[in-house]
Point group: C2
Amino acid sequence: MSQYDNVTVIKKANLYFDGKVSSRTVLFADGTKKTLGIMLPGDYEFGTDAKEIMEILAGELKVLLPGETEWISISGEGEFTVPANSKFKLQVASITDYACSYIQE
Amino acid sequence: MSQYDNVTVIKKANLYFDGKVSSRTVLFADGTKKTLGIMLPGDYEFGTDAKEIMEILAGELKVLLPGETEWISISGEGEFTVPANSKFKLQVASITDYACSYIQE
């Protein structure tokens, strides 16, 4: 799926880490939400509220999921899931384009 | 208008200047197109194909429109129009969030 149809897009961007991470919120007719974002190179830690499925559309990064000691490497496309109410770390080596789905459980 | 309803969003980002400028394409039911973008601080020159109406949602920047010698300053919200098939320069002083409308004439 290369595009989202029949959605609502919030105009204002979400900005994190001095804008090195930015995203736009996309709302779906079924009440679900995704963000489409860009991460510039850097080290980041994020906290989740809902469970998140992170789809990497392009980029090069390492991910440390909560409770893990081994970093996962993603080059190009990839996906990982982060549990609700947890923290995860990212080491972004090149510009990373992502789609994040928020899953209410 | 704080959101766009009933639109299609292209998932993959448009990246310029090593990702310091990035945007997402939003397609409307009437066939028109906008992009929602972020510019990090820096000096940029852009070329237009269609006429563009640049709505600044937040940020601090100076704009040099084609054929002009005086820079326009925008702080916070603002708007400027760039003719088709021309070039314009931007000096972005702080993270700038924008919505760009492409006008077919």
